[in-house]
């Protein structure tokens, strides 16, 4: 019998994985993907809740999240490309001109 908890735990795990990705990957592109992963986890939570509460609010919110996610990806990749042109790398550990 699947309960709300199942979904919530799943999404929490997904969220955690996303965070882990941001923490651990050096490749800028992958980091962006991990962010997507986090957002997806949130989406899952929303949908699960909307199902549980029987309200559409959550689903609508998910749509907007997707919009935002797409936008962010677009801009993010834009920056990534530009950076790659300038520095020839997508290793975010080498992107530290500014510190302290």
């Amino acid at each position: 019998m699947v309960t709300l908890q199942h979904y919530l735990i799943l999404s929490a795990a997904l969220f955690g994985l996303g965070v882990a990705g941001v923490m651990m990957r050096r490749n800028l592109i992958i980091v962006l993907m991990s962010l997507e992963l986090m957002l997806n986890a949130v989406n899952l939570t929303f949908v699960a809740f909307s199902r549980y509460l029987g309200g559409l609010e959550g689903q609508v919110f998910v749509l907007f999240i997707m919009v935002v996610a797409a936008a962010e990806v677009a801009v993010g990749l834009g920056i990534a490309v530009a950076l790659f042109r300038q520095k020839g790398t997508v290793n975010i550990n080498e992107i530290n001109l500014m510190k302290w």
Binding site: L8, F15, G18, V22, L28, V31, L32, L35, M38, L39, A41, V42, T45, F46, A48, F49, S50, Y52, L53, E57, G58, V60, F61, F64, I65, V68, A71, E72, V75, G76, I79, A80, A82, L83, Q86, K87, I92, I95, N96, L97, M98, K99
Partner: protein, 483 residues
């Protein structure tokens, strides 16, 4: 069949934002079809837009209305912040024009994004529903990401944009997760719903967790420690005027939404949240001020200082009273003029390609440009909270409100750290007045816009510092809707 019930649409309520968007789109079009000198034109258009927005904002002060099916509230509070945002935008535009020429950045999009960003802020501050707030937030964020990285030549700009974007996305993910938890724990996503839920007692752990995550999300935007890490880098990498705009506009909008969510949701804050805010405030003041002591790059220094100021503003939140919030508003007002002025001068002194943003580049400025140095000192003194400038009255108000609630230790931390802050603010004055430059730098070119902006800022911080009553009054009545 599903019957469509249209929402009650109150265009006057969102008129300022609409005007900004409109101006933005016009600027975009003109920019697309014009070949040369687009900057001047689009700057003028945006200024007109801002001016109109200002006019359109006037009547909002007296309104108290929930529009668009509870997506938006139009009240004195949003009126105040609209005003603030419009001022910030206006000043930024004035500062930017000449700057863009100097940097050889012939891009009208700059202004377009600036306007969209401001519009986003307006929706954010007026938002009565987490969705509106979130969309507004993202609109401003994305525009700011882009503006941050808009300098094609500079690797720093790109880098800062990237950092900002990644961390921004990260924090909005947290924010959203919080929203989700709130939504799930029976509370709705609209602030009224939340208020109902939280005032109804019987608050579930999940709901509080959600709320805390919202706090984290906002904390990131206002650059509260430990969510501040992006600030120094982004401020350093971004074009000076944008940095200024971020440090006041984004901060103001974020604080506005922050306060609205917190206070509308819960009559007066539960101890737990207050404690969290208390710690955030303390950490922010301490770290911001201390780290600023050792900075050699003025943009970075001002970045840390803006972190510190976020800390002071948080004191107002901790107080959690109308007084506290209103003094926060006044603080933001003062801070807007002061900081934009300061960054204007940073942009000016930075000269070609922002080559001169180190503190040592300010050596002997008083000899080459006495008035400029004087104005800069004025801004710095106001930031340091030296009476009778606006900055002092603002700090005074904040501390007063906190003490009224008995947060004496927080206030003591506040005063001690601001004593430390005197060191780095005065350090700049020292460089300008008391040291001689090694090599002569090229003269600074003024532009009428810049001069106007600086003059206005300087005059205002003196004026509202010496005669703060009216403005304190405005702030006080602007926060009424929240409580």
């Amino acid at each position: 069949m599903v019957q469509i019930k249209l929402p009650e649409i109150i265009l006057t309520g969102i008129c300022p934002a609409l005007l900004l968007c409109g101006a933005g789109i016009i600027a975009l079009m003109v920019g697309l079809f014009l070949r040369k000198g687009t900057i001047g034109v689009s700057a003028v258009i945006s200024l007109v837009g801002v001016a109109l927005g200002f006019l359109a904002n006037m009547p909002l002060r007296t309104m108290k209305q929930i529009a668009f099916n509870g997506m938006l509230t139009v009240d004195a509070y949003s009126w105040f912040f609209n005003m603030l945002i419009l001022i910030a935008a206006g000043l930024t535009i004035l500062i930017s024009t000449r700057y863009l020429f100097d940097q050889g950045l012939e891009s009208y999009e700059y202004f377009v994004l600036l306007l969209f960003c401001s519009a986003g802020m307006m929706f954010m501050v007026a938002g009565n529903h987490l969705l509106t707030i979130f969309i507004g937030l993202e609109t401003l964020s994305i525009s700011v990401y882009v503006l941050t990285g808009i300098m094609p030549a500079s690797a720093k700009a790109r880098e800062s944009a990237l950092k900002y974007l990644i961390l921004g996305a990260f924090s909005s993910a947290v924010f959203l997760y919080g929203a989700a938890l709130l939504y799930g724990s029976g509370a709705s996503l609209s602030l009224d719903g939340l208020a109902k839920y939280f005032k109804g007692g019987q608050v579930s752990l999940m709901a509080s967790a959600g709320m805390v995550m919202l706090i984290v999300g906002f904390g990131f935007k206002v650059a509260a420690v430990p969510f501040h890490m992006w600030t120094p880098d982004v401020y350093e990498g971004a074009p000076a005027p944008i940095t200024g705009f971020m440090s006041v506009g984004v901060k103001a909008a974020a604080f506005a939404a922050f306060a609205r969510v917190l206070f509308e949701a819960s009559g007066e804050l539960p101890a737990i949240w207050t404690n969290i805010l208390w710690c955030l405030a303390a950490l922010t003041m301490i770290l911001g001020n201390l780290a600023a002591l050792v900075q050699e790059n003025i943009k970075r220094m001002l970045a840390y200082s803006s972190i510190a100021h976020a800390g002071y503003l948080l004191i107002g939140m901790v107080a959690g009273t109308p007084e506290g919030t209103s003094s926060m508003l006044y603080y933001l007002l003062a801070y807007t003029f002061t900081n934009l002025g300061a960054f204007g001068i940073v942009a000016l002194v930075g000269r070609q390609g922002e080559a001169n943003v180190m503190l040592d580049d300010y050596r002997g400025l008083s000899r080459t440009h006495p008035m400029l140095a004087l104005t800069m000192s004025l801004f710095l003194f106001s930031l340091a909270g030296i009476p009778p400038l606006a900055g002092f009255v603002a700090k005074f108000a904040i501390f007063k409100s906190a003490l009224t609630q008995g947060y004496i230790w927080l206030v003591i931390i506040g005063v001690l750290t601001s004593a430390a802050s005197v060191f780095y603010y005065f350090r700049v004055v020292m460089k300008m007045y008391m040291e001689a430059p090694e090599e002569e730098l090229a003269a600074v070119e003024f532009s009428p816009g810049m001069v106007l902006a600086l003059a206005v800022a300087a005059v205002v911080i003196i004026y509202i510092g010496v005669f703060p009553t009216t403005y304190l009054g405005l702030a006080a009545e602007s926060v009424k809707p929240l409580f």
